[in-house]
């Protein structure tokens, strides 16, 4: 009897190894890991061998060598005598600049267009659909070329600059604006701004509490706007206007002084924004449409007005549908910003994986660092959006 009992499980165990999904999965995964490691090992060995035979040194020592080339836009101090390491940071910051500007503008434009597509107004919804259909169906590179060569390159020379507003000049070299020069006491204005923000934070908590307790609502939006704009303005006036503007002036063939937005940045920013916003508009539209009509009906039947139905019922549910595809649009935008190379905007790829790589020949290190940057940026954005998404997730049975 005991031999019988021992026999049957061991017999079934023999067949079970192949039929047990968990064990099978472990086997296949181990095989896969071995294959991948072998493949990577082969590539590394092959590359090292090639480099050695061509006499190229490996390592990151080149980063401290002098770069010797100029960059047309830099957010940190940079000159031709700066190091290659510094070109990396200049490029990285320029990539971040255009990505952040692009994400902000594309989100705003995308939400406006997505909601406009759902408008009951025939003209508004048709304009929004036309926008989406046109801009998401033309290759991004062509759009960048369009804004750069067809629009911005067609602007007049510095001497014939357009001046739509006093001291703001637009010409083929860029957009020139007065630069603020902060005088004594401007710090107080900044402080007033932050005090206003903190005050708004506490007032809004208080007003929420008061609504919970008494049901009365407080005009929070107006109070917040008044405080955040009004308080700094008041302090500014009390301190005797401690802010002057240095206007750009035409000297020779170009403008000096003031702030400049170079046409490469403007073209890339506009193109990335308009292109990505077309996709975001579709995401927003389908997200709002994904909230069933029954939700709107139930909320309206309770007496909530249109605005509150949207704010309290539709948007909180739509956001959950919108976030995952929105995340991938943000990632696309960051990666697409590398098309900067095509018009010479000095982003990471153009400056570092372009000029620096060409001059130093350190392909492996440069490409590795560049890929690492995009990978890190993408993972950071994904992590943030995932965190946001799990916070919003619906509880199901």
């Amino acid at each position: 009897m005991s031999s019988d009992a021992n026999k049957s499980p061991s017999a079934s165990q023999k067949t079970r190894f192949w039929h047990d999904p968990a064990k099978r999965a472990i086997l296949f995964q181990s095989l896969l890991v071995i294959a991948v490691l072998g493949f990577v090992g082969m590539i590394v060995q092959n590359t090292l061998h090639n480099l050695e035979s061509r006499g190229i040194t490996t390592g990151f020592a080149f980063l401290s060598q002098e770069a010797g080339f100029g960059i047309i836009q830099s957010l940190i101090d940079y000159s031709e005598s700066s190091s290659y390491g510094r070109t990396f940071f200049v490029g990285l910051l320029n990539t971040l600049l255009v990505s952040v500007l692009g994400i902000i503008a594309a989100t705003l434009l995308g939400f406006i267009m997505g909601i406009a597509r759902l408008s009951n107004n025939w003209l508004i919804s048709k304009v929004a659909s036309a926008y989406v259909e046109i801009f998401r169906n033309i290759p991004l590179l062509i759009q960048i070329f369009f804004w750069y060569f067809a629009v911005l390159r067609a602007l007049p020379s510095p001497r014939q600059s357009l001046e739509p507003i006093e001291n703001i000049f637009i010409n083929v070299r860029g957009l020139y604006m007065p630069e603020p020069i902060y005088g004594d006491g401007f710090g107080w204005v900044v402080a007033a701004f932050f005090i206003a923000v903190v005050a708004v934070f506490f007032i809004s908590r208080w007003s929420k509490k008061r609504q919970d307790e008494t049901g009365q609502r407080f005009p929070m939006l107006w109070t917040a706007a008044g405080l955040i704009i009004g308080l700094p303005l008041l302090v500014y006036w009390v301190m005797g206007s401690p802010l002057t503007w240095e206007a750009p002036v035409l000297k020779g063939f170009n403008f000096r002084g003031g702030m400049t937005i170079i046409p490469e940045l403007a073209a890339l920013w506009v193109a990335l924004t308009i292109y990505t916003a077309a996709f975001i508009a579709e995401i927003v539209r389908s997200g709002i449409e994904a909230v069933s009509h029954g939700q709107t009906e139930a909320a309206s039947a309770l007496g909530l007005n249109r605005g509150k139905v949207l704010r309290l019922v539709v948007v909180p549910q739509a956001v959950r549908v919108i976030i995952p595809p929105l995340t991938s649009q943000y990632l696309n935008l960051i990666k697409n910003s590398s098309l900067a190379t095509a018009i010479g905007y000095p982003d990471l790829v153009s400056v570092f994986a372009g000029t620096t790589l060409n001059q130093t020949g350190q392909a492996i290190e440069v490409i590795f660092m560049t890929m690492l940057v995009y990978l890190t940026l993408s993972l950071l954005v994904s992590a943030f959006m995932n965190w946001f998404n799990t916070r919003m997730a619906l509880v199901e049975r």
Binding site: Q211, E213, A301, G303, L304, M392, L394
Partner: protein
């Protein structure tokens, strides 16, 4: 036989010559209906006959094109103020519950009192708990709708409407999306509500409910009210051929 209860003379809902079209399609043809305070009306009829459309016109989820609808003295027109006033007084329960999945049961119930009636949150939650207790589901208050069974969800939906303290309740086939074993728990709640004197208009095929609760049964077909009578007469002595055909279908399956 219907239960004895108080029906007042005051008119809660009045539909006079109401007509509605979907494009070319004439959905409602001269619908006339008067519902007194405390009255319980059951509307039945074949699919597509315009039952849902009729009651959805009462709180303006659908717009009628001709005729008058007056609810508790307020005339429905394009004035948003009137529409909102009427919606505050008229509760509605849907076939598919339509609870808000991102809010807990308690928040579902307290939402409208807080944002429409401007009730303090604590008080609104007390009201919500009171009605959740009445539909016997108070122990689920902190769960999300997705965690409840269909019957429980529908009871929450009824409680959610009651929190606005409505004068009239509209039910659009409240039990037809439910598994048979859950129908009773919802009907029990509705019967209880009727006993408390709520003015009710129910679209339903639950003839047992109609027989015990309704003051009047209305039969609709092809956008018209064909016949209306008190339940005993309606079921035992139907007048029109169409009513007879419908009743034989629905009672014999």
């Amino acid at each position: 036989m219907s239960m004895t209860h108080q029906v007042e003379d005051k008119l809660m809902v009045e539909m006079r010559g109401v007509n509605k079209w979907y494009g070319q399609f004439h959905v409602l043809k001269d619908v006339n209906l008067e519902v007194k305070k405390g009255e319980r009306i059951v509307i039945c009829g074949p699919s597509g006959s315009g039952k849902s459309t009729t009651i959805r016109c009462i709180n303006r989820l659908e717009e009628h094109q001709k005729g008058d609808i007056i609810v508790d003295g307020t005339t429905l027109n394009n004035d948003l103020k009137n529409i909102e006033t009427i919606r505050r007084e008229v509760g509605m329960v849907f076939q598919h519950f339509n609870l808000f999945p991102h809010l807990t049961v308690l928040e579902n119930c307290a939402l409208a009192p807080i944002w429409v009636r401007k009730t303090p949150r604590e008080e609104a939650e007390e009201i919500a708990m009171k009605y959740l207790r009445r539909v016997k589901i108070e122990e689920q208050a902190l769960k999300y709708p997705g965690q409840l069974s269909g019957g429980q969800q529908q009871r929450v939906a009824i409680a959610r409407s009651l929190c606005m303290n409505p004068q009239v309740m509209l039910f659009d086939e409240p039990t037809s999306a439910l598994d048979p074993e859950m129908i009773k728990e919802v009907l029990d709640v509705m019967v209880e509500l009727a006993e408390e004197g709520m003015t009710m208009l129910c679209v339903t095929h639950e003839m047992g409910f109609a027989k015990t609760v309704a003051d009047r049964v209305i039969f609709m077909d092809k956008g018209q009210i064909i016949e209306e009578n008190e339940p005993h007469e309606f079921f035992n002595n139907p007048q029109s051929e169409r009513t007879k055909a419908f009743l034989s279908q629905i009672l014999n399956h």
